[in-house]
Structure formats: structure tokens, C-alpha cells
Symmetry: C2
Subunit: 207 residues, 2 copies
């Protein structure tokens, strides 16, 4: 049994590389393999779609020390903190804010929507990581169409049975750089795996 964390990770990525049946472009492997590593679900090899500008645009934003908006506390808690700090980045969410909860209740909509509307007013936020709420991704699409925000990267990986697949199709039509998991699948662990893969690639480059 392997007990060393670095060896476990190395062996895991070797197994993924051996077993994956999809033809993943070399430049996308660090991202898609990490998603498979975090889910043990090879279907992500088929459904993960990365816009050709997504990686470079995301990396530029991180290097500039941007803020990242997450639609869940789980994403915030799972991101590689030391890497964020290294680049002067910060991850924020307003999903637990009392004011957001009250406004959502009053309007009969999800806190995720209100959280996105609020985030779009913060010009330092350049990356949006959506791992839970299709309504968040839908709201973000609306804000982009109405010229309220122009993200450097949208990680659009909400999960679910109601509007999750549709919200990803919507965001792909906005013209902003995106990484999505087509269909119903996704989640906080999936979105944060993509975000961490981006940070790890940058750490490698800057070593």
C-alpha cells in the first residue's frame, strides 16, 4: 500500500492516463485528468469542454492578482490557499451572507442568483467558479449579455437535474472564455479541481 501523498497522486495520474479512452488534447490533460482524479469518473473526459482562450485568459487573470467568485463555501474551502496567496489572489463568496439570504427570500429566488448580481459589481472579480447552482450560471449569463460584467474565465460546472445542462449551453454562447462540464454533471469538487489545476500549472511555470 502506498502511503506517501506525492506517490499516491503520481500513481493516480498514471492510472488515469492508462485507462482513459477519450482523446484528450495534450494542453487540456492537466485539467481534465485532475477532474477525473477528484471524481473517479471517466465521463468527465467526454463532457469537459474548455474554450481555446480559457487557460491563457484564466492564467493572465490570476497573475494579475484577481478575485475569484465561488458560488459555494465548499469551493472556497477546497481551493489551494498557498497558491492563491502567492499570486495575490483572493477567493470570495457571498452565499452565506445574511443580506443575500434575506433578499433571495424576499424575491423568491435562489441565494446563488443574488450572490452573482452582487459579485458583478466588484470589478476585481475576473474569474467565476460555479459548482453548485445552475441559477447562478444563468444569472451570470444575463449579466454578461447586459454588459454588466466581462469575466476573464467562467468555470461553469453546476450540477443538477433542473437547468444545469441548459445553463452551460447558455454560457457557451456569451463569447467569454469558459470551461464547462456539459450535461447534468459537475459540483463543487469538480469546479475546484479545475481551479486548482490552473493554480498548479502556474506554480510549475513560476518555479
Amino acid at each position: 500500500m502506498i502511503l506517501n501523498p506525492a506517490e499516491i497522486e503520481k500513481r493516480s495520474f498514471e492510472i488515469i492516463d492508462q485507462e482513459i479512452e477519450d482523446n484528450i488534447a495534450e494542453e487540456n490533460k492537466p485539467y481534465i485528468y485532475r477532474i477525473i482524479h477528484t471524481s473517479a469518473d471517466f465521463e468527465y473526459g467526454k463532457i469537459t469542454e474548455i474554450h481555446s482562450d480559457a487557460i491563457s485568459s484564466g492564467i493572465t487573470a490570476i497573475k494579475s492578482g484577481c478575485r475569484i467568485y465561488a458560488d459555494t463555501n465548499m469551493i472556497k474551502s477546497g481551493v489551494k490557499k498557498s497558491a492563491l496567496e502567492k499570486f495575490g489572489c483572493e477567493i470570495v463568496t457571498s452565499i452565506s451572507d445574511e443580506a443575500v439570504a434575506m433578499e433571495a427570500e424576499r424575491r423568491g429566488i435562489t441565494r446563488s442568483i443574488v450572490g452573482i448580481e452582487k459579485a458583478c459589481k466588484d470589478e476585481r472579480i475576473k474569474i467565476f467558479a460555479i459548482g453548485n447552482a445552475p441559477t447562478a450560471l444563468h444569472a451570470l449569463k444575463e449579466m454578461i449579455f447586459n454588459d454588466k460584467v466581462k469575466p476573464a474565465l467562467v468555470i461553469g460546472m453546476p450540477v443538477g437535474f433542473v437547468w444545469a445542462a441548459e445553463s452551460k449551453e447558455e454560457i457557451k454562447k456569451t463569447g467569454v472564455p469558459y470551461a464547462v462540464t456539459n450535461g447534468r454533471k459537475g459540483g463543487s469538487t469538480i469546479a475546484v479541481a479545475f481551479l486548482n489545476a490552473l493554480l498548479y500549472q502556474l506554480m510549475k511555470q513560476s518555479d
Copy 2:
């Protein structure tokens, strides 16, 4: 498009009930459906295995105001806090403790193992929720066999390609009440979905 969170959840569970092909025992539906809800992955209908004493034993522990050990910050951050507070429960993890990290480094093992060893010394911890590290579940099995701990419930849902499947087979042989996701799949969102389902069921009972 449905924007009301309660309606979205209701509709999601209806879709799961319509589409699921596995024959799930009525008493397990709240748990397994919530896992599918959080992953959009119907394979969890096949691989989620719940020991016949797991629910009752977990509920008794929560009612007694136990501590819950999580192997990730993501689980801690995703658990339904208001429900925990209602029952006087607390969720803890030591995965980010500096002392744990240093000991793991020194011994060349994962922080997850050291975290489990430390948690087993805290008698208030009755439930273990493992969503990330197979090595954590393996270490817990060792502690149970050596009579160092007797959990009321082990949520054994680590994910991965190295020893994840094996660690679940190991824990099932210990005789303690368990809920596992057989094979490689699992994760923090999966483990916390099970834990939250347990809390939601209890909230319903106590309403």
C-alpha cells in the same frame, strides 16, 4: 425556468425517482437520492451500500450531540450547520493543523492518517465522514481492529485510484455501522450529501 430553491429541489428528486433504474429500499431513498442529486450520477444507486444499523446508529449519535470527524475542510464547510447546532453536534477536522502536517511530513505518510489517529483519541467523536483519503479510511480500520475506537457510524466515501475501493472493503469487515460507495467513486460532496441527508431526516422527525 424554476427559480425557487425549494421547487428546484422537489423537481430534482422527482426526476431522480422517475429515472433511477435500481431498486432502492424505501428507507435508503433519502440518502441515495441525495447523493445522486449532488452528483447527477446514477451509478451511486448501484454502489452506495448502507449497513442495516447505519441510519439508526448515526441518528442516535447525532441526537446525543456527538462530534463528527471529517477528513476534509470541504465536508466541514458543506454540512448543514443549523441542523448540527440544533442537536448540539459539532464537526471537526484536523487536516489543516500545522502539527498534523509536520508529523505527516516527518513520518512520510498522509496528513489524513495522522488526522484519524488524533481523532480516535477524542471520545466525543462518534461519526467519521471520509470523503477524500483512502488512507484515512484504512487508518480508521486499523484503529477499530486495535480497539482504539468504536464509531457509531463510518461514512466511508473516499475517492480515488489508489486503495479507495480496497479501503471500503476493509471497513465493511470491521463490524461497525457503515455507509460506503463501493469502488473508486466518492468525494467530499458525496460524503456530505449522506451526512446532510441524515440531518434532514432527523429535522423532519423532530418538527
